[in-house]
């Protein structure tokens, strides 16, 4: 057990957890990685491609190696970083990427085959034969590759979304962020301070230097306590700012319950916040980078800063014999801290010839690590001394310090490019930052604690001056102020594989090969080698890869350039992005006023846009949907049927120029429609294609009510507002959607009038003379309830549509059904509605499908050429008016027993079924219970002149073919006598 003294863990409590089925213990404050290290577990995973044994490289969110699956069952979460997974009692974790056990991975054979798996391997190897790709290569690769797997079960937890606003968003609660928050908080500004860690403080929790009289972590704790007491400051721990979006909008992921076995009742697992702020201050710190050398990926080899974090914050060490490899002064800080914790420092290998000297441990100046040994964990390193001599040093841990990269990511989310700083040998924020963003502390390249504190406070003062808040720099404690001393070294030249991107198994050799094959641009390098494309997005590897490429091309690192930084900063689950918009709540569900009545009747519902509509109403004894639908159709045509048509769009049009407005919106004329009359209208898009159709009723001199199809209600309204505001801004016309204000029912069939007469108040005569076909008017029903009545028909029967204010919709439906009992009235759903409109030959959504014109629909004559209307000019285009243009006609099977399907294409009897011989296609097909056979509507080239012709309806999808005859689209009552009865 290598649990040290001290640390920021709560030893008064012990937590048990399991990893790969074995039980361990840890303490509150531990991460999964720190607890495993404290249990002498260095091996935590296998690499993606070569299945190399791996342990943690880091102690933070940049971790490439220690990737595990957390939890089991429906809550299983793949690809979690053990370095940031907060320990809780009962946590279960499993390693990934191993076939067999973690210590004996069957696919480790890939490592011996590595010469075949170099960069571009997949592109080069699996080229041919083509047929092998889908059946052999891809399944093979998919099985071998990939990271963790999903449980396949629905996620039981709740995810939420939230919105926050503030004067200043401070990103990162290290020394710079805390100093900034103190300054801004005391000035009274509304501040959000967000930190990804569960223990804010950044490196203050991992370093040993003091701030004034206190330890760094104590100062952080005291500062956070003050901030928490201020109502104007919101400290958000466990919250990662994942992206800097446009106009001061930031995405933030708060892991509300990830540290608990399961969320508290009613609490979300995670909340995705949108933070709106004009001013942001990035204090995201810096990430240490490794140095590449042969076999630098063994468990036990870590970043020096990670070793300090494990030792100081978590009192956990992977081993007691530790060596350090560094190109800057950080390695010596690591050595001092570990000595103080009782570790043995085997040596500090400092690549700089002028390395600082000390008597406390051995310093090998000008030396480099050339190789390592140890199958499942580090056992020794090979060092090449300044003299050129080789030396082997036994150690179980190696701390590598290659310099610090400021976390510039968010400064680049709007395509800003960072600048190279020679002193730091790293990129710092530069160019155009996202508007309103400033940077402080290590993220800005200010690497000392004192510098971080003062720059954070100063940046807060500056940021607040713009919204006019006067802030004073908070008094700050004395802190270390060491300069950065680094001699860049990115990789140690030599044989063998030196790893740059450990998660995606990209080596120095791969980068060299990419260069050799001409992939010189960094963006090409990234995609060809996959460097930086893993879940860690190359936080520890990108700069190393760039440096190797720069060396190859003979260019400088800044001239080589970086790849583009994109959100999210760390991975975000899709569930968090979705929030509550999942499953049935993916989008709102709209219910009609009679929905509950229909549900009581056992209706089967169908989604139509956001609406749920009754599709049919099964009766006892009916075992197939067709039985129900046939019954509804026959009963309606025999007596009377009732259908809920509330979902149709309704647009109220008022004003002295309302008629002229409609005249321009519709292709057919509306200027002379009498009050009390309804007219069918066809609306075109400006390109001459049919957009929507419906009826418009003229209720009063300056008042019309338009109906649209259910699906196009929103788009038609938008279009009309565009015409009204942008094209004819001075027309006296006002429009508003009243779709949800009125419940509307169709009452259709020979007994429709008799049924309605029982409901409509006696003052209103709805007889054929007083209320003829296409009449409309305001009436009252049921003893004074205001209503609208329209004598329109979609079914071809004598029919009315009756509308009442929405809140009376349920009552009216019940009243209609009750009144209809003496006529054996049925209630019919959308299927029967569809059958009857096909029988009548009415076009609907299948025919107005975004490719058809008025001419195609057989309504070419309706487009009035004597007025201006949307689409009329371009409907005259030659291409839309060819002699062989498609025309809507009807189809019936030659053999009445045959059926066919919508979508089938029409081919001449003796022609080959191919695109060249295509004569058109079927759009709507139904079984007509009135005729006793299948009927269809479809578009046929020059269809109007081809009645009686026999064609083949070819359906290659279902491998079916039927002989069909071209007939009139009006199967029922072609003269329209029923309508006018």
């Amino acid at each position: 057990m290598t649990r040290l003294t001290g640390g920021l863990i709560d030893r008064s409590r012990t937590l048990s957890f399991s990893f790969d089925g074995k039980s361990f213990t840890g303490h509150p404050g531990d991460t999964l990685a720190s607890a495993l290290l404290a249990n002498d577990m260095r091996l935590m995973g296998r690499s993606f491609k070569y299945h190399r044994p791996r342990g943690p490289l880091t102690a933070g969110s940049e971790e490439p190696n220690a990737i595990v699956a957390l939890r089991t069952g429906a809550r299983q979460e793949p690809n979690a970083r053990a370095t940031v997974a907060e320990l809780y009692d009962g946590l279960t974790a499993r390693s990934q990427n191993s076939v067999g056990s973690l210590s004996f991975d069957l696919l480790a054979v890939n490592d011996f085959l590595s010469p075949f798996f170099a960069a571009g391997f997949y592109y080069k190897t699996f080229m041919w034969p083509k047929a092998f790709w889908e059946k052999l290569y891809e399944p093979l690769i998919r099985h071998a590759a990939g990271l963790g797997s999903l449980s396949g079960e629905p996620d039981p937890d709740l995810y939420d979304k939230g919105f926050l606003h503030c004067d200043l968003l401070i990103i990162g609660a290290g020394p710079a962020g805390l100093a900034a928050a103190l300054t801004a908080g005391r000035a009274g500004a509304d501040v959000i301070l967000a930190d990804e860690d569960f223990l804010p403080g950044g490196r203050l929790n991992s370093e040993t230097h003091a701030l004034g009289d206190a330890s760094g972590s104590d100062w952080a704790k005291a500062t956070l306590a003050e901030l928490a007491s201020r109502p104007n400051v919101r400290v958000m721990s466990r919250t990662t700012i994942i992206g800097a979006m446009d106009h001061g909008i930031f995405g933030a992921l708060e892991r509300v319950s990830d540290h608990l076995p399961e969320p508290a009742p009613g609490k979300p697992r995670q909340t995705f916040w949108r933070i709106y702020t004009k001013r942001s201050l990035l204090c995201a710190g810096a990430t240490e980078r490794p140095i590449a050398f042969r076999n630098n990926d063994r468990p036990g080899i870590m970043l020096g800063s990670a070793l300090r974090s494990y030792a100081n914050r978590w009192a956990a060490m992977p081993a007691t014999d530790v060596a350090i490899f560094t190109n800057n002064d950080e390695g010596h800080r690591t050595a001092s801290d570990l000595l103080a914790k009782g570790m043995r420092i085997a040596a500090v290998i400092d690549s700089r010839a002028d390395a600082p000297k000390t008597s406390r441990y051995e310093v090998l100046a000008g030396a480099v690590v050339t190789n390592t040994a140890g199958r499942l964990g580090l056992s020794s390193i090979s060092v090449q001394l300044a003299s050129g001599e080789a030396r082997k040093i036994a150690c179980q841990a190696l701390g590598v310090s290659g310099g610090w990269n400021p976390n510039v990511h968010l400064t680049c989310h709007q395509r800003g490019r960072p600048q190279w700083d020679d002193t730091l040998a790293a990129f710092v924020p530069g160019g155009a930052l996202p508007p309103g963003m400033s940077v402080a502390g290590a993220a800005q390249g200010i690497m000392s604690t004192a510098g971080a504190l003062s720059s954070g406070a100063a940046a807060a003062v500056a940021a607040l001056s713009d919204p006019g808040i006067t802030a004073k720099t908070a008094p700050l404690p004395d802190a270390e102020d060491a300069p950065v001393r680094i001699t860049p070294l990115f990789h140690v030249p030599g044989k063998g594989r030196a790893w740059l991107d450990q998660q995606n198994d990209v080596t120095v050799k791969d980068v060299k090969l990419a260069h050799q094959e001409g992939y010189i641009s960094v963006e090409h390098l990234k995609r060809y080698t996959t460097l930086g494309m893993a879940t860690d997005q190359g936080k520890t590897s990108n700069i190393g890869g760039l440096a190797v490429m720069a060396e190859m091309t003979g260019k400088s690192i800044p001239d080589t350039g970086t790849t583009i930084y994109r959100p999210p900063y760390t991975p975000v689950s899709i569930a968090a992005f979705a929030g509550r918009s999942a499953g049935p709540d993916f989008r709102p569900t709209r219910l009609t006023p009679s929905h509950h009545w229909a549900a009581e009747q056992g209706a089967v519902f169908v989604e139509v846009g956001m609406w749920l509509r009754a599709q049919w109403f099964p009766r006892p004894g009916e075992t197939t949907w067709r039985q129900s639908v046939d019954r509804e159709v026959l009963a309606t045509r025999a007596s009377v049927g009732i259908c809920d048509v509330t979902t149709l769009g309704k647009i109220d049009v008022q004003g002295t120029e309302a008629a002229e407005f409609l005249n321009r919106i519709y292709a057919n004329p509306f200027g002379k429609l009498a009050v009390g009359k309804v007219r069918y209208g066809l609306m075109l898009r400006e390109d001459g294609i049919a957009m929507d159709d419906g009826t418009t009723a003229h209720l009063a001199e300056d008042h019309f009510v338009m109906t649209t199809t259910t699906a196009n209600a929103v788009g038609v309204y938008r279009h009309m507002e565009f015409c009204r505001q942008c094209l004819w801004p001075d027309m006296d016309v006002q429009i508003i959607s009243t779709t949800e204000a009125w419940a509307q029912y169709s009452v259709a069939g020979p007994n429709a009038r008799r049924l309605l007469q029982k409901i409509v108040d006696p003052a209103f005569d709805i007889g054929n003379d007083a209320f003829p076909y296409m009449g409309c008017g305001d009436i009252t029903v049921c003893g004074g309830l205001r209503a609208r009545l329209f004598r329109i028909s979609f079914s071809g029967e004598l029919a009315f549509e009756i509308a009442v204010p929405t809140r009376y919709g349920d009552a009216l439906m019940r009243r209609l059904v009750e009144a209809g009992q003496e006529f054996d009235a049925v209630v019919y759903g959308t299927e029967a509605l569809g059958v009857m409109r096909i029988e009548k030959g009415h076009a609907a959504g299948n025919e107005l499908n975004g490719t058809t014109t008025a001419l195609n629909l057989g309504m070419g004559g309706m487009v009035n050429k004597k007025k201006d209307s949307i689409g009329s000019t371009l409907s005259e285009r030659e291409g839309l008016n060819r002699a062989d243009a498609l025309c809507l006609v009807g189809f019936r099977p030659v053999n009445a027993a045959d059926s066919f399907a919508a979508g089938a294409h029409l081919i001449g009897r003796d022609d080959v079924a191919n695109a060249a011989n295509d004569q058109g296609y079927l759009t709507s097909v139904a079984y007509s219970p009135n005729l006793g056979y299948t009927i269809g509507l479809g578009f046929l080239k020059n269809g109007a002149g081809r009645k009686g012709e026999v064609l083949r309806a070819v359906n290659p999808v279902q491998d079916a073919e039927t002989l069909v005859e071209v007939v009139s689209a009006h199967f029922i009552d072609p003269e329209g006598e029923r309508l006018r009865a």
Binding site: G248, Q414, E686, D687, V714, R718, E721, Q725, C726, M731
Partner: protein
């Protein structure tokens, strides 16, 4: 993005629906001798600038105003937002 609505102040762009170039206001005269050509150009020909772009947005989840928003297509910086009705007036449109 945040759109500075001329009547309602800053509003989230999610409340809006995008249409396209402001030139859609310039609907040609249907009685022109070359009306078909003019309508063709009106409907299909657009400038695609890298830089300032005046474009139509509809405040669908709001007050149902059509706006003309001036946006830099490279940075998404929005430098202006006007009521489309006012813009239509300046372009001489009336009834």
């Amino acid at each position: 993005m945040i759109i500075p609505h001329p009547l309602l102040g800053p509003r989230d762009s999610q409340e809006f629906t995008y249409l396209g170039d402001v030139s859609l206001i310039d609907r040609p005269d249907w009685q022109a001798t070359d009306a078909v050509d003019q309508f063709h150009d009106y409907l299909y020909l657009r400038d695609n600038p890298a830089g300032l772009h005046r474009e139509l947005w509809f405040h669908e989840q709001g007050d149902r105003s059509w706006l003309v928003v001036t946006r830099d297509t490279r940075t998404h910086e929005i430098t202006g937002a006007e009521l489309a009705r006012d813009v239509a007036h300046t372009k001489g449109r009336s009834t």
